[in-house]
């Protein structure tokens, strides 16, 4: 900064003294490193005690003194000339905002960061967090869910107790493919939502009568249970919860207040990708578990072909299939694996 000299440019404008809203006509000059106002109000302050508002194309740049009083220039360009003479520098962020090249770079960087975060960083991070979370916390969180479902969706099972015991025992005898298989509880229910099986964070694996009857093959039922155990083992519920929350938060940051309609759809689409990933992991777990216990993968194929039949039969997808990849795709993946 030029310390001693008086700078040439004089800026006409208004000074507001913070006491009343009255505009005082003044002229601003810079002298000896001080901003000096002359006219209807007189004052002088060192430049380094004055805050200059950020540069933008149409708004005049205001000076704010330490006591919250304000100088507002009449002409934006004259003010810019004076600021240039004093050697005032914009912050890096303001410089970037004013340069299309920096903006284009930021846009590309933004897309890359979002894509890498979505495809790699977030799934990996969620997996890590879910692993560190003690199983007991997860269990407690999921305690009430089965009660709610029992009241709203499920009826007591009609499968004979002997049949239930048979299936439970057969599954209990299978060795898990990896160490650290999670504890689980097998729950039989009759449902209003058709053939279905799913795992709850509480460790409950729910199997509906309709699915058992539809499959007509106990080993295919075991494959289904292995798939659900895979969900528990991989902590999919917790991971999806973490991922979903972060995606929702990121969308809020990006979209802001542009409206829920515009924001809701991408959130759903983004979650589908994670959902399919989780199903594939559970399929892999189930396939490994069958292999470990010498059960041919044909039984798992049978599960998928049955589900595929269901998909073709109903034009609309039953609830079980909505969040899963198409069975044909899962079948193809399984056959690839068997080869």
């Amino acid at each position: 900064m030029d310390g001693g000299a008086t700078l040439g440019t004089a800026v006409a404008g208004r000074y507001y003294d913070g006491v009343t809203s009255r505009a005082h006509r003044v002229v601003l000059r810079v002298r000896d490193g001080h901003a000096c106002l002359e006219g209807e109000a007189e004052r002088s302050a060192p430049l380094n005690e004055i805050r200059v508002s950020e540069r933008s194309t149409h708004a005049p740049r205001k000076l704010t003194f330490a006591d919250d009083t304000v100088f507002e220039p009449d002409d934006r360009r004259v003010m810019d000339a004076l600021l240039h003479e004093t050697g005032h520098r914009d912050s890096t962020v303001v410089g970037m905002q004013q340069s299309w090249r920096a903006v284009l770079f930021s846009l590309v960087a933004l897309v890359v960061v979002l894509a890498v975060g979505y495809l790699f960083a977030l799934p990996a991070g969620a997996k890590l967090v879910a692993r560190m979370l003690p199983a007991t916390v997860e269990r407690q969180l999921g305690d009430g869910v089965l009660d709610v479902l029992d009241r709203q969706v499920f009826k007591p099972t009609k499968l004979p107790a002997s049949r239930r015991a048979e299936l439970a025992q057969a599954f209990a005898q299978l060795a898990p493919p990896e160490d650290g298989a999670p504890p689980y509880r097998l729950v039989f229910r009759r449902s209003r939502i058709g053939p279905n099986a799913f795992a709850l964070p509480s460790g409950d694996i729910v199997l509906t009568d309709e699915l058992v009857n539809l499959l007509e093959d106990d080993k295919a039922v075991l494959a289904t249970l292995a798939h659900e155990l895979g969900h528990l083992h991989e902590r999919h519920m917790t991971r999806r919860l973490i991922q979903g929350s972060v995606v929702a938060a990121a969308i809020t940051v990006v979209v802001g207040d542009a409206g829920s309609l515009v924001a809701g759809l991408p959130a759903m689409a983004l979650d589908m990708h994670y959902s399919r990933d989780a199903e594939q992991e559970a399929d892999d777990y189930a396939a490994a578990m069958l292999h470990q216990n010498g059960i041919p993968l044909a039984h798992m194929e049978r599960l998928f072909t049955t589900l595929e039949g269901l998909e073709k039969e109903h034009g609309t997808m039953p609830a079980y299939l909505a969040s899963h990849p198409p069975s044909a795709e899962r079948l193809a993946r399984l056959r690839e694996r068997a080869r």
Binding site: Y16, S21, S53, V70, V93, M96, Q97, L141, V145, V253
Partner: protein
């Protein structure tokens, strides 16, 4: 304060329109740079981004030759955001996993909400200034609880019939408790005005639904006779689109009429306001904004933001009675500048 205004010459007021000089392309650049910084800092920078955005918008809002200024402290905004995330995140998490715990969290949110709204009203007004004078909010915490907890419950209990009354009370509270320096805003729209407005729109919705129902029956029947089931489903599809458009337009019209009602009955000292929002203006704005955002995959968002703000601001004018020079700062406002006193006490912001 009133003595100051009695000096004002009782001549016809001059109309001062608000002008807004922000542009979509400049805000696009601000938005992209700040979005990148917000994302890479895992959202922490978003508080600074908000300050920068508000400073840009305020500086480009001009009334009677002077522009507005935003003074929000990013740290206060960050604190507010963290609190909001903990509160609402905890609420969503609780509701997902356990109903009783979820209900407890719901009660906690309902109990804390009025305090948060109160704090953030104080924050946003205190951090806005015009001609070197700060705005402010004086409403008490007790009346915040009345207006943001008790009255919404009344609205629900009366099955919505109390809504116009509640809306009037809420706006009256917000506007009469706001001040510019030591001068207060006032609000003189009556409960009757709100009921009349809501009644007209209720009538419009009932009549419209009735007409659409008849049209559905007639056109569906004719189309079914002429071209079978395919024709009928085509007619139904068309009617769904027409109904959707109708209800959206009614919604925009209600928004415009209410906005005009509220601002045409608001005063600052002896100065009145005039609002000239129209339903067609709002409809054109929101339809083009939504379509453009979808077709540009979101890149239009900052442009849409500027367009919406411009429409809202530029349809408002101030009818200046005498001079705007005479407003005196509220005692204590000047001392609290730059992080001392009230600014830190009110240091909490919830609004996005």
């Amino acid at each position: 304060m009133s003595a100051v205004f009695e000096k004002a010459v009782p001549a016809a007021p001059t109309e001062e329109r608000i002008t807004f000089s922000a542009t979509g392309s400049e805000y696009f650049r601000i938005w992209i740079v700040n979005l990148l910084l917000s994302i890479v800092t895992l959202g922490i920078y978003s508080a600074w981004a908000k300050v920068r955005r508000n400073q840009y918008f305020y500086a480009n809002t001009k009334l009677a030759g002077s522009t507005f200024e935003y003074h929000g402290n990013p740290m206060a905004i960050l604190k507010g955001r963290i609190a909001a995330i903990v509160l609402f995140g905890g609420y969503n998490l609780a509701l997902r996993y356990s109903l009783p715990f979820g209900l407890v969290m719901m009660a906690v949110v309902a109990a804390v909400m009025p305090w948060l709204v109160w704090k953030s009203l104080q924050f946003s007004l205190h951090n806005s200034s015009y001609r070197g004078i700060r705005f402010g909010f004086r409403g008490s915490l007790g009346s915040a609880y009345l207006h943001y907890l008790v009255l919404p419950i009344v609205s629900v209990i009366t099955l919505g019939f109390g809504t116009p009354f509640v809306h009037q009370r809420l706006k009256r509270y917000q506007h009469t408790e706001s001040r510019y320096g030591g001068t207060h805003f006032s609000f003189d729209a009556t409960v009757g005005d709100f009921y009349k407005t809501y009644a007209v729109f209720l009538g419009l919705i009932v009549a419209g639904s009735f007409a659409l129902g008849i049209a559905a029956a007639v056109f569906g029947g004719v189309a079914a006779v002429l071209s079978g089931a395919a024709g009928a489903s085509g007619a139904v599809f068309l009617l769904i689109i027409v109904s959707y458009a109708f209800f959206l337009c009614v919604g925009w019209a209600l928004m415009a009429v209410l906005q005009n009602l509220i601002w045409n009955h608001t005063q600052l000292g002896t100065h009145r306001f005039k609002s000239t929002m129209t339903w067609s203006g709002l409809a054109g704005l929101y339809m083009t904004n939504t379509l453009a955002i979808i077709f540009t995959l979101g890149l239009f968002i900052p442009f849409a933001h500027v367009r919406a703000l411009r429409y809202r601001l530029e349809s408002t004018a101030m009818l200046v009675n005498g001079s705007l020079d005479d407003v005196v700062a509220n005692k204590g406002d000047a001392v609290s500048a730059f992080g001392e006193g009230a600014a830190d006490l009110a240091g909490f912001d919830l609004s996005l």
